[in-house]
């Protein structure tokens, strides 16, 4: 059986998995699926079979607006010499938890 029809007809979805309560959803990959329910089901089987998650988001890839790799220098380089913005000069109390 060919995988062609699926790849041709089914849109691409980006998959985000939250690993446990209190942590954020993280991008973990993408897959082709016919609709959101189908995408959720396949994401469950592909990305959470080793207990990786407690929650899944799927987002149609075409709805994600991405920065242009060409703009990398103008977008991100200006931050490189401003280390005073990093929270490394004070201690975070343990009670704060994940930041």
């Amino acid at each position: 059986m060919s995988t062609q029809p699926a790849l041709k007809d089914w849109p691409l979805w980006e998959v985000f998995v939250r690993s446990k309560q209190g942590l954020e959803h993280k991008h973990c990959g993408s897959l082709h699926a016919s609709d959101s329910e189908h995408a959720l089901q396949m994401a469950r089987d592909v990305y959470t079979r080793r207990q990786e998650g407690v929650s899944i988001w799927v987002v149609p890839s075409h709805l994600i607006a991405a920065s242009d790799p060409e703009d990398k220098a103008l977008m991100f380089d200006p931050a490189s010499d401003k280390i005073y913005r990093h929270p490394t000069f004070y201690d975070i109390p343990d009670e704060v938890g994940h930041m």
């Binding site: 059986m1 699926a6 396949m42 469950r44 089987d45």
Partner: protein, 279 residues
């Protein structure tokens, strides 16, 4: 449930019936590994096969513990020496000893499904999984309150798994039934072929009396099963074939189709050629 209910040990035969159902379907579904229509479904089917084999292992372990406790010395000569283990029960019993429904052992592409193509038909596998999972969701629900505490614990674990199996199979049933002309034709052929095999669910037998003792009256589940299946078929734009009276499969009584011995031949040959082998 009444807290004063006396603990009851489910019969070993009934445990083996539940275990054989899970193992044989798990073995069948594992045949999709590396061959499913798409990668994600390959994983989905293999995940479910592993759920089923995991259920079978727990049930065989429980049955083995109880057989050993009985201390019976008369055992089939083919069984390896020493205490009975899950492997004895899975690998050293012959087809006539297996108590699974005939439905479980049928190939994915029986020659009797004229519309099926290739060596496996996804529609056949989906319809079978759906018919069985709908039944087992109801069975595990009831066994989760079984007076046999060990069986109740296995049921509680299996219930979560089977709920996903129902969702997966039902979802595909709708997609294939309400999909293209070809998918509709093929999944309808699978329904027409497999539905008569479900008659075995409701045929009363000694095993069902043992099931009732363990906490589930299986033939009494028929109306609920019919409702769930009819609703899904209707939503999938599929027709329910008219009921056929007469022949009822007898797999649960050890009288199987020709397909089971081939399946067991493949599954058991390694363990029998090298008893006790490990890696």
């Amino acid at each position: 449930m009444d807290a004063r209910v006396k603990p009851v040990a489910a019969s070993t035969d009934y445990l083996l019936h539940l275990a054989d159902n899970a193992l044989v379907l798990g073995q069948r579904n594992a045949e999709w590994c590396g061959h499913a229509p798409i990668l994600e479904e390959d994983l989905a089917m293999a995940n479910q096969a592993l759920d089923l084999i995991g259920q079978a292992r727990l049930l065989y372990q429980l049955a083995a513990t109880r057989l050993n406790a009985e201390g019976r010395t008369q055992r089939p000569s083919a069984w390896p020496a020493g205490p009975v283990t899950e492997d004895t029960l899975a690998y050293f019993r012959d087809d006539r000893d297996f108590r699974n429904y005939t439905l479980q052992e049928l190939p994915h592409n029986p020659g009797l499904v004229p519309a099926a193509g290739g060596t496996r038909d996804w529609g056949v596998s989906i319809v079978r999984n759906f018919f069985y999972a709908v039944l087992m969701e109801m069975v595990w629900e009831r066994l989760a309150a079984s007076p046999d505490a060990d069986l109740a614990a296995i049921a509680a674990k299996s219930l979560k798994e089977v709920r996903y199996h129902v969702r997966h199979a039902r979802d595909w049933l709708l997609r294939l039934g309400d999909g293209t002309d070809e998918s509709h034709r093929r999944v309808q052929a699978a329904v027409d072929y497999l539905l008569p095999f479900t008659a075995e669910f409701w045929a009363a037998s000694a095993l069902d009396a043992q099931a009732a003792q363990a906490g589930v009256d299986v033939p009494a589940l028929r109306a609920d099963w019919d409702r769930a299946v009819d609703a899904a078929l209707q939503e999938a734009t599929l027709a329910r074939p008219p009921a056929v009276d007469g022949w009822v499969p007898q797999g649960k009584q050890g009288v199987h189709s020709e397909h089971l011995s081939y399946l067991l031949g493949e599954m058991q040959s390694l363990a029998r050629a090298h008893p006790g082998a490990t890696w």
